[in-house]
């Protein structure tokens, strides 16, 4: 794939990234879900605008600002964003009033901000970016497809930088419904327990991670060597796809796995650890950020940090690697799987 990640910006339940630190707070209490922490936006969003922005939009802008600073760039040439659920809060706000008020006396603000591309549109507005601007809304592959799109764009615009990001917000209603659909566990649990015992569903999370992507490395880059995505209901097919992927990429010294405490995928990850990664460092990340459709973007940011500084101590599940240079990330959200090969070698 030959793309380089030259900067990251992360807002997550475990904290906010900076040039000096990566979010690593793990809640040591039983919770129903994980809530994304937010910075003081007033440094870069005018108060009048900030008041009208939903959390999804704020989180997007916040992570973009951190990412631009980390990559030392002023303005992106292009934006490629993934959000499976879009601006849920404003969608529900408008929907709720429409139903309650029987289609009468509605105000447009929530509707205007309800479209999936509101986040990317607002980023373009605030950064004055007239470039290519796309939003993917494809379930557990929304973020990965945004990266594929960046690859296609950079093939035709070799010297530019694309900001690629993944954002999803959690609302009270989406939490309730996704618990009813058994995506998330109904009873409260401790995030770090997800590696000890699994239950019927994961712990809900939300967040925003952005990446400065280009075809040329900077002094602190991580190379994306390969990305493979697939959708399957058959766990054996998933194992086979991963086996084929691993045969194509350099042998990793570290693997980051999307273990989420859900009993339905625990055996899948156990087998991966036993069969393919029994001698290398294994790390998890969903106890930091929770489970959500674009949670994989947090794992990629963590991989960048691990090669740049160190793997967050609380991330290791087995055999902490002495040096992290060659990484595989395997993640899933429901039936959408993704496999990444990342390399710190130039």
């Amino acid at each position: 794939m030959e793309l380089y990640i030259n900067g990251i910006g992360v807002l997550s339940a475990a904290g906010i990234s900076s040039k000096e630190s990566f979010p690593i707070e793990i809640l040591e209490k039983e919770v129903s879900h994980l809530t994304c922490q937010e910075p003081n936006y007033l440094d870069y969003i005018p108060p009048m605008q900030l008041r009208r922005m939903s959390k999804a939009v704020r989180m997007g802008i916040g992570a973009v600002k951190l990412c631009l600073a980390d990559a030392s760039i002023q303005k992106p040439d292009a934006l490629s964003v993934g959000t499976a659920l879009g601006c849920l809060h404003d969608t529900e706000n408008f929907l709720s009033k429409m139903v309650e008020q029987n289609e009468q006396m509605l105000s447009p603000t929530a509707f205007i901000q309800s479209t999936h591309n509101t986040v990317a549109g607002q980023i373009a507005l605030l950064t004055g970016s007239n470039g290519h601007n796309l939003t993917f809304a494809h379930r557990g592959h929304s973020f990965e497809h945004a990266l594929f799109n960046a690859k296609l764009y950079l093939n035709q615009h070799a010297n530019e930088t694309v900001l690629v990001g993944g954002i999803d917000e959690l609302t009270e209603t989406s939490l309730h419904l996704l618990k009813e659909l058994n995506v998330y566990e109904k009873t409260d649990r401790k995030p770090s327990d997800m590696f000890i015992h699994s239950t019927n569903g994961s712990i809900a999370g939300e967040g925003s991670s952005f990446f400065a992507i280009s075809r040329t490395p900077s002094f602190q880059s991580l190379k994306i060597e390969r990305l493979h995505t697939f959708h399957t209901l058959d766990i054996n097919q998933a194992k086979e796809e991963i086996k084929q992927f691993l045969a194509l990429v350099p042998k990793p010294d570290t693997v980051i796995l999307g273990i989420n405490g859900d009993v339905r995928t625990q055996e899948f990850y156990d087998e991966l650890m036993d069969h393919h990664f029994s001698t290398i460092g294994c790390a998890g990340f969903k106890h930091f950020c929770g489970e959500y459709p674009v949670a994989g973007s947090f794992a990629i940011a963590m991989a960048v940090w691990a090669t740049r500084k160190e793997m967050p101590q609380g991330a290791w599940l087995a055999r902490p690697s002495k040096s992290v240079k060659q990484i595989v990330v395997i993640n899933h959200f429901l039936h959408h799987f993704s496999c990444w090969s990342l390399s710190a070698s130039k």
């Binding site: 139903v99 029987n102 447009p108 205007i112 549109g121 601007n133 809304a137 592959h141 209603t173």
Partner: protein, 398 residues
């Protein structure tokens, strides 16, 4: 090695017809699809005309083999994909196939009908009814139904969504990442979008008049439009003929306002000029522009000015077809890509319905009568939307 993305077939379902041929018939006859909503249950049925597809969910389900409990957007999407793909469905074995769809409403038609129960947290079994709420879920109902798995994605950039899905599909064909792609999009009418646009006061209470000085706004429509893109390997295997290629595409952002276009159409201008550049041609080579032309004061003025800036005194024949279909939101880029393909195939320029008065701030006028036997080699199709998203596609006859 780069190859061209050939359009070999199309699928279309709009208020003016149930397939490509019947939509074309209506275009030729000047028959509009704008009228009173009969199926959409809304307070505004008598006040706000729409471009409604006159088929019930049951009829759509029966024809496609899907369940009628699926979101209407999935049903109309499947209907149009069925038309587009069926000639090749049995011949595409071994080809790498992708589905690039787009929508903005997802399963909102169902969600809005059960929301009162969600709000009450009532115990009645609503989770199953809302499990297809996501835009991506609608796409997957269709991709699974037609057994397309090599690459499946959903783009949601408001009214430019399906132009972007065609752009991405063309790129993946050009780079030989896929052999065959079904690309376009769909959106059904919903109370959510009708009321949303109504609060913005940009809906016309009469049938819309795009590019008319006295235009009053847009009419929402529902529709699905898909093109089949192939590389030469797939064309050979499927015995398919090229109608035209996707020669140029560009996506730019207006970066001006969440819903309004900049007065001079900066994003519009960028999208059009970059797409023409990508096609390797000059503005004067464009034979027909299928305008975004929604009929709102803001869009038509910005788009009109951007076209004047780009084309100067040589503005090509141009028309908006939204007077026929209504504005089909996430579907319009796909619908209008099909119409652009037909313009090339049959040498037609479609009329811009109900045009009466010259715009004060735009010096040219759209084509108002059907023009046939035209030499149409290059067509520019515009799709602009909320969030500043502007996309243009160029279709060229080889």
């Amino acid at each position: 090695m780069s190859t061209a993305a050939h359009i070999v077939h199309t699928g279309l379902l709009t208020a003016i017809g149930i397939d490509t041929a019947s939509c074309l018939e209506s275009l030729k006859k000047g028959k509009t699809g704008i009228g009173k909503a009969n199926l959409l249950q809304t307070h505004w049925a008598n006040d706000l005309p729409v471009g409604e597809i006159g088929l019930t969910n049951r009829e759509l389900a029966k024809h496609t083999g899907l369940s009628e409990s699926h979101p209407r957007t999935a049903l109309i999407s499947a209907w149009a994909v069925q038309e587009a793909l069926s000639p090749f469905q049995k011949m595409r074995k071994g080809l790498k196939c992708g589905f690039f769809s787009a929508n903005t409403v997802g399963g909102m038609d169902i969600t809005e009908s059960v929301y009162h129960r969600i709000k009450k947290r009532s115990d009645e079994l609503y989770p199953n009814e809302i499990k297809h709420h996501e835009c991506g879920a609608v796409t997957e109902i269709v991709s699974n139904h037609f057994d397309i798995h090599d690459f499946v994605t959903t783009i949601s950039t408001a009214c430019s969504s399906s132009a972007n899905s065609i752009m991405m599909a063309a790129q993946m064909i050009e780079e030989n990442m896929l052999d065959l792609a079904i690309a376009g999009g769909a959106d059904c009418l919903s109370r959510f979008t009708l009321n949303g646009f109504n609060t913005l006061m940009i809906l016309d209470h009469e049938p819309c008049q795009p590019f008319d000085n006295n235009r009053r706004g847009l009419n929402l429509g529902e529709g699905a439009g898909y093109v089949i893109l192939m590389n030469e390997k797939a064309m050979k295997q499927c015995d398919a003929q090229s109608i035209c290629i996707v020669s140029g595409y560009a996506n730019a952002n207006d970066a001006f306002h969440q819903t309004a276009s900049s007065p001079d159409g900066i994003g519009n201008m960028l999208a059009m000029s970059e797409a023409i550049k990508r096609a390797g041609i000059l503005p004067e080579d464009i034979d027909y522009i299928n305008l975004h032309g929604t009929g709102t004061a803001n869009n038509d003025s910005s788009e009109g000015k951007a076209i004047t800036t780009l084309f100067g005194n040589n503005v090509p024949k141009a028309s908006s077809t939204k007077g026929f279909t209504g504005h089909t939101l996430g579907g319009c880029g796909g619908v209008e890509a099909v119409l652009s393909t037909l313009a090339i195939r049959d040498g037609l320029v479609f009329p811009n319905l109900r045009w009466q008065n010259q715009m004060e701030d735009v010096p040219w006028k759209p084509v108002t009568e059907l023009q046939s036997n035209q030499r149409i080699k290059h067509v520019l199709s515009n799709s602009f939307g909320f969030g500043g998203n502007c996309s243009s596609l160029v279709f060229s006859k080889l």
